[in-house]
Symmetry: C2
Subunit: 317 residues, 2 copies
């Protein structure tokens, strides 16, 4: 492709799906041309509403996302989706690459779904997700949904950067509730108890209320919504709760500004760390002798790291 | 404490628990003195057998680890444990900080348990874990068990660096098996079906066998062991399977050497990335104007990152 970065940026801003998909791929490969294009794209971002969805495996996140897409489409909004998937070690592909909901919306021009694999990203997952969100935003999608399959730290970090973060759980997880308690409950702006027609839903809601109460009186309110996403039950209420959260965020001037600033800082940090990581990989590849010495314990990790850092910072890159 | 690094290193090598615990804390805070001490400690590492344990939440990992500790103690071995815990957002402390198994072995001088929180580590988890393992190794513990509570990418990375990695699951997880498939199965050297007296254990074993078969004929063999860790059932078989894996690793000269080299490279990379990360934090704190510009979209992340990287590499550190 010989097109110049500015021309590609214009195509992206016009919503060209083919060139936008290629830009996302090139960003993933960190091609210099892609970065040049993004410098033209970035000023046109910031209009989309970014919604994060995470939760326990098996809680029905994809079905909730599917129902949300249908809801927003009915309201005339264009929806972009970033599905952060763990890749299967055996197939090498994304587990959910062919999941049903993708088929359902595949022919809808108002929906654009992009899968991102978590493996092989070496910590660059947040950066990649942020870049895909920025491209979808610039393409003119009104709502961008970031869904993570896992609940690892990386995925939690990704979702916590959304304007509104939905955490989905289900009745009857037992010990699993511990996983929610630890780490992902704190990022929830709206909690969803999906499959709420199942036995134990009342108890799950009560447990969540108790956990939220532990946060004390001045904690930000978190709404709990019951859904049965397969039938669409509760999705209107979920969207309403999301809207209320969004308005609260928008209303408090300092709150929204602070959140925007935090996201800008996270974006910048990820860019820099990602570059430094690549530089580290290159420096390591250039110094196999240091690794050999360390394996033989004729040096220690600290002395070897000193040398490698000197090599990295003495280079211009 | 005015003691010099060499004196502290001698105390650590003599197994001094109080000074070793302080060294671990100082390493976590990245104190320069701690690094100096480690330069004297590191040459004396490499003798401990490092065993990793991870798996689904609720699978009974802690009980398996508890049973392993009891087994190795009976065999006269000294055991160090690094428990990588997610911290609770509400209590601020480690969820498992006071778990029962700690109480049980608290008075046993041959057992040393250290908890590491995953939160607030900003990717430095592997480095911290590696350093704690190195200290326990130098202190003379024969077996060092690294247990992770979560199954996020960070935790998987940590466990995959152990000489032998045990992945624990239980019957009846249903959809959860997908989480095993994705990411953690590939690091398993030995698979454990715990609570195997439960209904569905045969099916879980069959599912795991099928998944393993997908890897093809030349894949490294992975044993599946059934346990009921609460009663100790199957723990002898588990230890035997671990020993067989360990011997296979030791026997293949190139295999063990390659693994040692990979671990050395990972250790070195973590040291370097951790330092670069700290440098990035410092550079970000020094340039709040860059974050403001990015939040206002008067610059883009790439141009801002260029500036920050220049600031980082122009400094000597």
């Amino acid at each position: 492709m010989a097109a110049d970065p500015e021309a590609i940026a214009r195509a992206v801003l016009a919503g060209d799906q083919r060139l936008s998909a290629r830009l996302m791929r090139d960003l993933d490969d960190a091609r210099p041309g892609a970065v040049e294009t993004m410098k033209h794209v970035y000023p046109h971002t910031g209009r989309a509403f970014v919604l994060g969805v995470t939760g326990n495996p098996g809680a029905g996140k994809s079905t909730v996302v599917d129902a949300l897409i249908a809801h927003y489409r009915k309201a005339g909004k264009r929806v972009g989706v970033v599905a952060v998937d763990p890749t299967s070690p055996f197939s090498g592909g994304a587990i959910l690459g062919d999941r049903i909901r993708m088929q359902r919306h595949a022919t809808d021009d108002g929906v654009f779904i992009r899968s991102l694999a978590t493996r092989g990203h070496l910590g660059g997952l947040s950066r990649s997700t942020g870049e895909v969100v920025a491209v979808l935003d610039a393409m003119g999608y009104d709502v961008v949904i970031v869904e993570t399959v896992g609940v690892g730290q990386d995925e939690v970090d990704v979702v916590s950067q959304a304007e509104t973060a939905i955490v989905v759980t289900v009745p009857g997880l037992g010990d699993e509730i511990q996983a929610i308690k630890a780490g992902i409950l704190e990022i929830a702006d709206v909690l969803v108890v999906n499959k709420s027609d199942r036995e134990g839903a009342d108890r799950t809601v009560r447990d969540l209320v108790s956990m939220l109460e532990l946060r004390g009186h001045d904690a930000v309110p978190v709404e709990i919504v019951r859904t049965v996403a397969t039938t669409g039950k509760g999705i209107d209420e979920l969207v309403a709760a999301v809207e209320r959260h969004r308005e609260r965020g928008d209303r408090g001037g300092t709150g929204a500004g602070a959140r925007r600033r935090r996201r800008a800082e996270a974006t910048l940090r990820e860019q820099v760390v990602d570059r430094l990581r690549r530089a580290t990989d290159a420096a390591l590849a250039a110094r196999p002798d240091l690794v050999d010495q360390l394996a033989a314990r004729t040096t220690d990790p600290y002395t070897a790291a000193d040398e490698l850092v000197r090599a990295i910072t003495s280079k211009s890159w």
